[in-house]
């Protein structure tokens, strides 16, 4: 069964790249939607109920940290992977405190992404 993934990312080429990368793992993931800011992310999550959310942190309207908080408030079991260029411990801590389940620091390769996703999903299921 394909994992349904919501991509939250303001940069279009990054969205495209993520889709492309996820498609490399044939049949494992299905991108069910996109959001370009936190607010939209929360809305989309409520609408789509994805298995996993990739969450950028620096976005307009509502930033990623806030969005994580909102989503987690809505669904405590939501699985959220932060994908951000911000990688210092302060941001990581902030994201983790808000409820993020994983953190992928930009830049990353296909392998980096799929390894993290695999580990995260396995962990989540157990």
């Amino acid at each position: 069964m394909k994992k349904r993934i919501l991509i939250v990312e303001d940069a279009p080429y990054m969205r495209e790249m993520l889709v492309e990368m996820l498609e490399q793992e044939k049949g494992s993931y299905e991108v069910v939607g996109f959001a370009v800011n936190g607010k939209e992310a929360v809305e989309k999550y409520k609408e789509l109920k994805p298995d996993l959310v990739t969450m950028d942190l620096v976005m307009e309207v509502m930033d990623g940290i806030q969005a994580i908080g909102e989503i987690k408030k809505y669904d405590q079991n939501a699985l959220i992977l932060v994908v951000s260029a911000l990688g210092t411990p302060e941001y990581r801590d902030a994201a983790m405190r808000a409820g993020a389940d994983g953190y992928l620091w930009k830049p990353f390769t296909v392998k980096n992404l799929t390894d993290v996703l695999t580990k995260l999903l396995e962990h989540h299921e157990t």
Binding site: M17, M21, A85, G87, T88, K106, P107, F108, T109, V110
Partner: protein
């Protein structure tokens, strides 16, 4: 009429008896032969006792004889008259002889009395001793110890009662040793025998300690008395109490001694005095000249005594002036003048002089004590110069100088202060400067008077100026203290400090802004790397070999760029104090192995030997930072060491520290660069940049991480042989 004495009665009785016997024999017995020789008895007695009066007895008896013979017997024969005449003649002769002897005796008695009288009137005690040491005479009663009496009371030796006194009659006829001393034998030290023997007088002094502890001195002169043949028959002792004389002598002697000592002392002083002591008479002629004068004037006494003292003064009237002043005032004290030495060099002297007078009060001259004060004068001149200089300094100083007495009286203000506040010298400071009636609450006078130096800042609201005040006790020549205050106008500095503070604050804000900006900037710089690396990784498997290599290179470069940005970001975080350590117990071999495992491929790629010598040690440290320290040092070593080189990693325990060392066999670092290699963006050899890559941030991070742990990092190097990087970390947090 002489009284009828025993002698008279005897003569009278004998004469009567003789008359009655004659009468009885002639008248009643009719004997013609009477015994007129019996008549001699009363005649001789009368002759001896009554001298010429014996003639009356003889006449009486002759008369009786003639009458008896005439009336009783037959006739008066010639024989009768003859006998009577003999009687009278005998009586006369006896009377005459007796008279003569009596006269001589009376003369002797008179002489003796006179002698006695003379002896008793002289103060000395006179005694006379004959050859058998018998005392023939003693002029006055005497103490047994031989001490003179006065009015029957011992003059000094009062312990002896008067009954113990030796009376004249007690000793006369006795030996002197028995009489005076109660001894049986002649005294051993007796001078009398020698006088008898030699015929020469001897004088002997005796002394006695009296009951009251004082001394009594006796002077006894033993004088021989010669007979007509020149033999010594007697010795006259002439004893005098010389205690008083002795005492006087002693007094005189001790006074003389004292005087002599004083004189010697004064002489010594005068002779040895460094001061010149000179006597000048009324005519200005030098009469005395001591060594001190010789020493600094250069003239000897012989050269100046008898000459006028005018020769010493460069000013010809000075000698007169000094003399006049001494005459007028009787003395002169510390008068300063200049004299010329023998070598014509001027000498500053201080003269004190006194007038010498004779006993009638007539001035004889002056005695002058003078001292070479050239050095003092020079010193004074210097002091004055210094003071003038000091005043000059005070006047030309940009700081205010202010002196106020203990009683708040303004004693001095320099020009700066006078210009600023007006000349207030002679006024009370709190009155004139602050319009107060008592000292200002901030005043430090009390502290300064307690010999403390106080430094404080005072802001004058009136002038809108801030002064840095240094207030310190100033000891005056008379020993009192004043307060010296240095006013430094620091208003400008204060303003600058304020500005500086503002600037610093702004700079700190800017710095924070910069750090925030950098953090954001570094993140922003990372963002483009995400698609580069991401797409490259997507592209890679889809490309043929050659193109895949290209894309790999792109990816690798992007990774390098990312690493660089990471380091810059980390340094910015350290600067922003955002990096905190998480301490945990770490095994050093494990940490090192992790790093080595990661870096081994890079070393192998350059054919380098990576050797480790790590004992089983643990440390309390932040794992990530410790990993970074080793990673940076080892990767640096790999980067800078040429192909086939060697890298040694060693860790050892050093007391409380762990010491790590990464040694390489690279080109080394020149000594002048060693201290700077831990600075950011510093590279030992810019020419290496291209060959080795990197920005030199790795060592900066190592330094910061080591520093955060409380350790130290340094490097040693031998160019051509290699470098060694050391760091220490405390074992315990």
């Amino acid at each position: 009429m002489e009284k009828l004495t025993v002698k008279g009665l005897l003569v009278f009785s004998f004469a009567g008896a003789c008359a009655l016997l004659t009468f009885y024999l002639g008248v009643f017995r009719g004997e013609t032969r009477v015994y007129p020789h019996l008549f001699y008895i009363p005649i001789i007695l009368a002759g001896v006792w009554y001298r010429k009066k014996a003639i009356y007895v003889a006449l009486f008896l002759s008369g009786v004889y003639i009458l008896v013979t005439h009336y009783s017997l037959t006739h008066l024969s010639v024989d009768v008259f003859e006998r009577s005449t003999i009687l009278i003649v005998v009586a006369y002769i006896i009377g005459l002889v007796s008279e003569k002897r009596a006269q001589v005796e009376a003369e002797i008695v008179r002489e003796r009395d006179k002698f006695q009288k003379i002896l008793s009137t002289i103060s000395e005690i006179i005694f006379i001793i004959d050859r058998d040491f018998k005392v023939l005479e003693l002029s006055k009663p005497q103490l047994r110890a031989g001490i003179e009496m006065e009015d029957g009371i011992p003059r000094r030796y009062r312990r002896i009662p008067p009954s113990q006194l030796i009376e004249r009659k007690e000793v006369i006829g006795k030996t002197c040793y028995k009489g005076f001393w109660g001894k049986e034998k002649i005294c051993s030290d007796c001078p009398v025998p020698s006088v008898f023997e030699n015929g020469k007088g001897v004088r002997k002094m005796g002394s006695f300690v009296l009951a009251d502890g004082t001394m009594m001195y006796l002077d006894v002169e033993y004088v021989p008395v010669f007979d007509e043949k020149g033999n010594v028959v007697q010795v006259i002792g002439d004893m005098r109490d010389i205690t008083e004389q002795k005492r006087m002598e002693e007094m005189v002697r001790s006074a003389e001694e004292q005087l002599r000592e004083t004189r010697d002392y004064l002489d010594d002083i005068i002779k040895s005095s460094a001061d010149a002591i000179v006597v000048v008479d009324m005519e200005g002629i030098v009469r005395s000249w001591n060594k001190g004068a010789e020493a600094y004037m250069g003239y000897t006494a012989d050269e100046v005594i008898g000459r006028s003292n005018k020769m010493f003064f460069p000013d010809p009237d000075e000698a007169e002036r000094i003399m006049e002043r001494v005459l007028k005032e009787g003395e002169l004290k510390n008068y300063r003048t200049i004299v010329l030495r023998k070598d014509k060099r001027p000498v500053h002297i201080s003269v004190s002089a006194a007038l010498l007078k004779n006993k009638n009060g007539m001035p004889l001259g002056t005695v002058r004590v003078s001292r070479d004060i050239t050095k003092e004068v020079e010193l004074e001149r210097k002091i004055k110069e210094e003071r003038d200089n000091l005043n000059l300094i005070f006047e030309s100083m940009p700081d205010g100088v202010y002196i106020v007495s203990k009683d708040y009286n303004v004693e001095f203000m320099n020009k700066v202060l006078i210009d600023e506040f007006g000349d207030r010298v002679g006024n009370i400071c709190y009155e004139v400067f602050h319009g107060r009636e008592e000292p200002c609450p901030l005043c430090k006078n009390t502290e300064v008077m307690n010999r403390k130096t106080v430094r404080w800042e005072w802001h004058s609201r009136r002038k809108n100026k801030t002064y840095d005040l240094i207030e310190t006790p100033l000891k005056n020549i008379n020993g009192t203290l004043s307060k010296l205050t240095i006013f430094r106008d620091i208003s400008e500095r204060k303003r600058m400090e304020e500005e500086l503070r503002e600037t610093c604050k702004r700079l700190a804000e800017l710095d924070k802004m910069k750090l925030d900006f950098l953090s954001v900037a570094y993140h922003e710089m990372r963002s483009p790397l995400a698609p580069i690396i991401g797409y490259a990784s997507l592209l890679e498997p889809k490309l043929p070999d050659k193109e895949r290599r290209y894309i790999c290179n792109i990816e690798k470069c992007a990774r390098d760029l990312e690493e660089m940005i990471n380091r810059m970001l980390e340094l910015a975080r350290i600067d922003g104090k955002k990096v905190q350590l998480t301490f945990e117990e770490l095994s050093i071999p494990e940490v090192v192995q992790k790093v080595v495992k990661k870096l081994k491929p890079a070393a192998e790629a350059k054919n380098q030997i990576l050797s480790t010598l790590i004992p089983e040690l643990t440390i309390q440290a932040d794992e990530q930072k410790l990993l970074a320290i080793f990673t940076n040092l080892i990767s640096n070593a790999i980067r800078y060491t040429p192909e086939g080189g060697r890298i040694d990693i060693m860790v050892e325990e050093r007391g409380e520290d762990i010491r790590g060392c990464v040694a390489d066999s690279g080109p080394g670092i020149p000594a002048e660069h060693l201290p700077k290699i831990f600075e950011r963006f510093y590279m030992a050899d810019t020419s290496m940049t291209r060959k080795s890559g990197g920005f030199g941030l790795g060592l900066s991070i190592v330094k910061e991480y080591v520093r955060l742990h409380g350790g130290r990092v340094w490097a040693t190097s031998e160019p051509g042989k290699g470098s060694k990087f050391f760091f220490t970390l405390p074992k315990e947090k």
